[in-house]
Amino acid sequence: MADLFLIARIAGRQVAIASDQVDSVVDIGEIVPVPAADARVRGLAALRSKVMTVIDTRAVLGLPRSDEAPGRAVITIVDGHHYAILVDALDDVTPCALLPLAGGIVLAGGWRGIGCGVVELDGEPVLAIDLHAMIPGVAQAA
């Protein structure tokens, strides 16, 4: 059972994102901040005629906001809303098998909320993450 996974880099770590959660991958331009919103919401950005809500991955992980201008983002659609999840870099798209987290492993910090399994990449374990778990205000499906 091999699904396509997008291998990306967030907060300096390699992660795998199930491709069925990914609508597209874009370069983010200017971001308009949203006042009084959740810290995870970096702001709004326009992609052609769509407005996207930009999610700051570092904030999701509880890390301080980076000073670098945001570059690339993975677009995911939840309930008809477009979300752009900021990533540091995109490495590859590859078929992998998703394995559950082995017994006894507890993810630390902000990773715990978003990790959903492990994929093997060239013999190395890579954490698979759930994009939807990064989005504030979305009811979590168990």
Partner: protein, 766 residues
């Protein structure tokens, strides 16, 4: 009307196409409830539309089919092959008639009776060949799927953004030819954008314009009369929304007239106006359009609703346990009606379930608020999604925000002359805009944005929210744009400060502010504010409009304008001093006249005809001067009389006439009122008394009588000192022929004593 007909044809045609599959499925399995419901809804919709389009043949056919289907739904009839055939024949026939109407061709109605009879199982459905001769008339309209329009719209937005980008890049290129081309492109793009936008937007008037006729016809058919009022017809709404609202609105209104508004006789009994009132209004509220249908009928009887459902096999205890609101919502259950008889208009219980399904399909919701005996208000909320709103772009801390124009009362600049200024109550800044004090909310602060300068703001946007207004301090008012608002992600909306997001021409996303959300975030609390106009009136000194005039004695006086019926010139020849007072002959009647000052030497005077709504008296004056608002504050006169007091008018003293005193005096003197107490004259001198004492007695407020009619009783009896005692029960005043020194009787020519005695009795009587 033609538009409506065209729409009806297109809609029916479309539904029929969609329905053909359902029909075949139902034919295969007549017990399939879902298919039955679909067909039922179709004929019901056709029937409803026929009602106001005046298509009696279609109405008859669909009504008949609906009857049968409703019987099947209620389980009264079994859908056997024959019945299915008969219904399908009707549906086919409806299709043929619709095509015939569209083509303008005549279609003979033979066989329709047979079709209807076949429904009852009395006749075989006539084997009939569909008339193929009808050709479709060329239609000049195309029905597009909204999805296509959506794509067109978003493509258009992309085009605008590309144009903007191109313009930015070409800004440095000064080649006039390129510039001219770009300008032409811009113009075309702008025009296209307008057109594409318009393809989706429509005034809700398109929906409301058919209502008066529908209401009239529906009401007339039921023998009721209904006054319809429509508000907010210019609210713009997505075309699709309008289409989707058409049927539900029709159903709700027909239900209101049929079930809600009572027949005139019942309304009279209930103390209501005979004409039922039906109010349909549309308004935009935040990111929703709200359509409200309010009637003043009998409301929904939830007990009846429950009883009906129980009769249909639902658990009574369960239904009784529901809250009133939940029980009200039971009217949305399929197949429910609280009306006992079925009418042409409604009453089969189709409708409310269909209505709710239709509205929820477009992401809206429907709410009922019923006051038993007082009326029902149905509120439909539909999302603003894709609705274009006119917005003002505001700047705060270098960021732009949009606010709907509808919620903005005005935009003012803080001015040095003090008409618009910022005051402080304690440390709380408030805005004073032309005497109106408003709470002040700083946009940047409420949004948590850092503002560069912390001085007092210079621009205020006065925002109206339900219950009051507040001043929103902004850094800048930038622009005025038509925007397509879309809902923002939940995480963005969570703060309650925003109503949506939009992508203006600049290509930079912008947030739409929620004016009510900002007020509540700022903790503003409004008690219902009285209208500013009333406020001003309350602050000013109360005034009374009055007529200033020059009286006969040369004094300036005034009389409240409200009591002056008119001012007429009168020849003094018509004024006579008769029977102890001045009287004026005018219009064939005699009017008591008051005058302060002599008429001597005047040929003509003006007469104020004063009225208290019932009686009339005249007041002679030299001339009318002016109408002025006089202060109510008045220095009262020392003694009661025709002058109530003195008011100051432009530094002058003006006497104010006391109309109450004038009328009271007249009422005291005036003849004719039967309610006065009776003074009974008895004894041998009754004749003398009637002749000599009557005026004095009448002046004292008595009616003089020499005998009592049945049922009357005297308040005072007059008798001579040597007359026998009159029947007991009334006070007796005795007179003597000669002066006497005791109090037993009054000398009959002692006028002062007599008046005093009468006055004493009058006081005693009270």
């Amino acid at each position: 009307m033609d538009d409506l007909l065209q729409e009806f044809i297109a809609e029916t045609r479309e539904t029929m196409e969609a329905l053909s599959g359902e029909i075949i499925a139902w034919e295969a399995d007549p017990s399939d409830r879902a298919r039955l419901d679909a067909i039922f809804r179709f004929v019901h919709t056709v029937k409803g539309s026929c009602g106001f389009l005046d298509l009696p043949r279609l109405a008859r056919l669909s009504h008949a089919a609906e009857d049968v289907l409703s019987a099947v739904r209620a389980g009264e009839r079994v859908p056997d092959a024959r019945l299915v055939n008969a219904v399908l024949a009707i549906v086919d026939r409806i299709g043929e008639i619709v095509e015939a109407i569209d083509g303008g061709a005549a279609l003979d109605d033979s066989g329709e009776d047979l079709l209807i009879a076949a429904l009852d199982g009395k006749a075989e459905p006539a084997a009939h060949a569909p008339t193929q001769a009808v050709q479709r008339a060329p239609t000049r309209s195309v029905r597009l799927s909204v999805e296509l329009l959506d794509r067109m719209m978003s493509g258009m937005s992309d085009m605008v953004l590309a144009r903007n980008e191109l313009a930015r890049r070409l800004r440095d290129n000064v080649d006039p030819a390129v510039e001219a081309s770009l300008d032409r492109l811009s113009l075309t793009v702008a025009e296209m954008r307008d057109t594409v936008t318009r393809t989706r937007m429509q005034k809700i008037d398109a929906l409301f314009s058919a209502l008066p006729r529908m209401v009239r016809d529906t009401a007339a058919g039921l023998g009721k009369s209904v006054t319809l009022s429509i508000e907010g017809a210019d609210v713009e709404l997505d075309r699709e929304m309008i289409e989707m609202l058409r049927d539900p609105l029709g159903h709700i209104i027909r239900n209101s007239i049929d079930h809600g508004i009572e027949p005139p006789a019942d309304r009279r009994k209930a103390g209501k106006r005979e004409n039922g009132a039906l109010n349909v209004s549309a308004r935009q509220s935040g990111n929703q359009i709200i359509v409200e249908i309010a009637d003043d009928g009998r409301g929904i009887d939830t007990d009846k609703v429950v009883a009906k459902l129980v009769a249909a096999g639902r658990s009574e205890a369960e239904l009784r346990a529901l809250s009133e609101k939940a029980r009200l919502d039971l009217v949305f259950e399929p197949g429910l009606t609280t009306k006992d008889e079925v009418t042409e208009v409604s009453g089969r219980g189709v409708g409310m379930d269909v209505v709710r399904a239709n509205i929820e399909q477009i992401g809206g919701r429907i709410e009922l608020s019923s006051q038993r005996g007082q009326g029902l208000t149905t509120t439909i909320h539909v999302p603003l999604t894709l609705s274009i709103i006119s917005a003002i772009v505001l700047g705060a801390a270098n960021q732009r925000f949009a606010m709907t124009r509808q919620s903005i009362e005005e935009i003012v600049r803080v001015r040095a002359d003090g008409a618009v200024k910022i005051d402080r109550l304690g440390t709380t800044p408030i805005a004073t805009v032309r005497e109106r004090r408003l709470p002040l909310v700083d946009l940047a602060t409420i949004l948590g944005l850092a503002c560069a300068d912390r001085g007092d703001p210079s621009m205020l946007v006065i925002v109206g929210v339900p219950g009051g207004s507040y001043a929103l301090a902004v850094c800048d008012v930038l622009d005025n744009e038509e925007l397509v608002i879309k809902p923002a992600a939940p995480a963005v909306m969570a703060s309650g400060l925003f109503a949506g997001q939009t992508l203006p021409d600049s290509g930079q996303p912008m947030l739409l502010l929620d004016s009510a959300g900002i007020a509540s975030a700022a903790g503003l609390q409004f008690t219902r504010e009285t209208a500013p106009a009333d406020e001003n009136a309350a602050e000013a000194e109360p005034v009374v409009p009055a007529l200033l005039f020059l009286d006969l004695d040369g004094v300036r006086r005034a009389v409240p304008l409200a009591v002056v019926d008119r001012v007429v010139p009168v020849d003094t020849a018509h004024i006579h001093f008769t029977a102890g007072e001045l009287r004026l002959s005018i219009d064939g009647r005699i009017l008591p006249l008051t005058a302060q000052g002599g008429l001597d030497g005047r040929e003509q005077v003006s007469v104020l005809r004063l009225t208290d709504g019932v009686g009339e008296i005249g007041y002679a004056i030299a001339e009318a001067l002016d109408i002025a608002d006089l202060p109510c504050a008045m220095t009262p006169a020392r003694e009661p009389g025709a002058i109530a007091g003195v008011v100051a008018v432009d530094g002058d003293q003006v006497e104010m006439i006391d109309p109450h005193w004038l009328f009271a005096e007249q009422a005291r003197l005036g003849a004719g009122s039967g309610e006065r107490p009776i003074c009974l004259l008895t004894g041998r001198e009754a004749g003398w008394m009637a002749t000599f004492l009557r005026p004095a007695l009448e002046r004292a407020g008595y009616r003089v009588a020499t005998g009592l009619k049945h049922g009357e009783s005297a308040a005072l009896t007059l008798a001579m000192d040597d007359d026998p005692d009159p029947p007991a029960g009334a006070a007796v005043l005795r007179l003597s022929r000669e002066p006497r020194n005791d109090n037993a009787a009054i000398f009959r020519y002692d006028r002062a004593g007599l008046v005093e005695a009468l006055a004493r009795h009058a006081v005693g009587a009270e």
